[in-house]
Amino acid sequence: MYILIIGAGKVGWNLARELTQKDNEVTVVESNRRRYEVVEEELDHNIQYGDGTELWVLERAGIQRADLVIAVTGDDEDNILICQMAREKYGVERVVARCNNPRNLQHFELLGVKPAISATDLILRLIEHEVPKYGLVHLLDLKEERLEIIEMEVAEGSAAEGQMVKDLGLPDGSLVISILRDGGGFVPTGDSVVQAGDEVLLVLDIGIEDTVTEVFSGRVTA
């Protein structure tokens, strides 16, 4: 696979290293001369100096034949433009953009640049995952498909405790896909019994979270 990475900061440089080790052909473009020289010592001819938002620089780096373009500069407007041009002008099938300021995510979406990855959002997700008081954890959002995979802890005294999966009374558009218990996990059948303290993974249609949450959370809300 031929991969073009714009921006040789910590993210770009490490991505280049990893992707090269995985036998991809990688070219990095960096616009800061000093940074370019530092990274060039390791990456040799796999890095080019130039402004990766200029068409001729992208063309010199071979954007026309790229299978994947990764825009990881420190400027969101640059990352948006690079991905927009990669996709719409050069027909690159896959792009990945870094979103530095999570408030700019809406601009990436508006201009059709996806996926856009925000480190702040990723860290927030991890915090949600590590801090159980949130109860519900988003594991995966498939926005296009309007599906999500969530994780819920079964609270003591909840409607779900002690019930078989088929008797949980879950709304249409939701499905229990696994139960995590005592450090292990299994795919339940309709007869599997849910216990308090279980972590339950569900796939659901977007928008019915609240109904599902009611089943697994304690009846007495704090």
Binding site: L81, E88, N104
Partner: protein
């Protein structure tokens, strides 16, 4: 009409003053609070007394664009010093706020050309200068130079 100008440098401030003098409602957004000096320069009264408005904020921030009145704008000018910023906010103005008359200053002829083919009204001072200078070198046109 209500004109919103984002980026108050030489270009943005000049357009703002002309548009206000022609009787339009004009709002200017710039991240630098000092930029209002360019709007006051050469005027009898200061910008806000003349009826213009000035908002300090970052072009990409929706809150700043809203504070400057983007949801009421009839015309939008993207004239910050960043080509990419201009191209992104112009598309926001067009697609999200559905402003018909959006004009964008883009210094790089390559991006200006491609985005104009995508339906944006881009103005490329670099390209304009190249064409004028070439014509003058060929002797096709003659000008005395710019005054003021």
């Amino acid at each position: 009409m209500f004109v919103l100008i984002v980026g108050c440098g030489r270009v943005g401030s000049s357009i703002a003053k002309s548009m206000l003098a022609e009787g339009n409602q004009v709002s200017v957004l710039d991240e630098n609070p000092e930029a209002i000096a360019l709007l006051n320069r050469g005027q009898d009264e200061n910008w806000e007394d003349l009826g213009g408005s000035f908002t300090v904020g970052t072009a990409l921030e929706i809150d700043a664009l809203l504070a400057a009145g983007i949801d009421q704008a009839d015309a939008f000018v993207a004239s910050t010093d960043g080509d990419n910023t201009n191209l992104v906010i112009a598309q926001i103005a067009k697609r999200r706020f559905e402003i018909d008359r959006v004009v964008v200053r883009v210094l790089d002829p390559g991006r200006a050309k491609w985005y104009s083919e995508q339906g944006l009204q881009t103005v490329c001072p670099t390209q304009t200068a190249i064409e004028l200078l070439e014509a003058a070198v060929r002797g096709q046109i003659r000008f005395e130079g710019v005054s003021g």
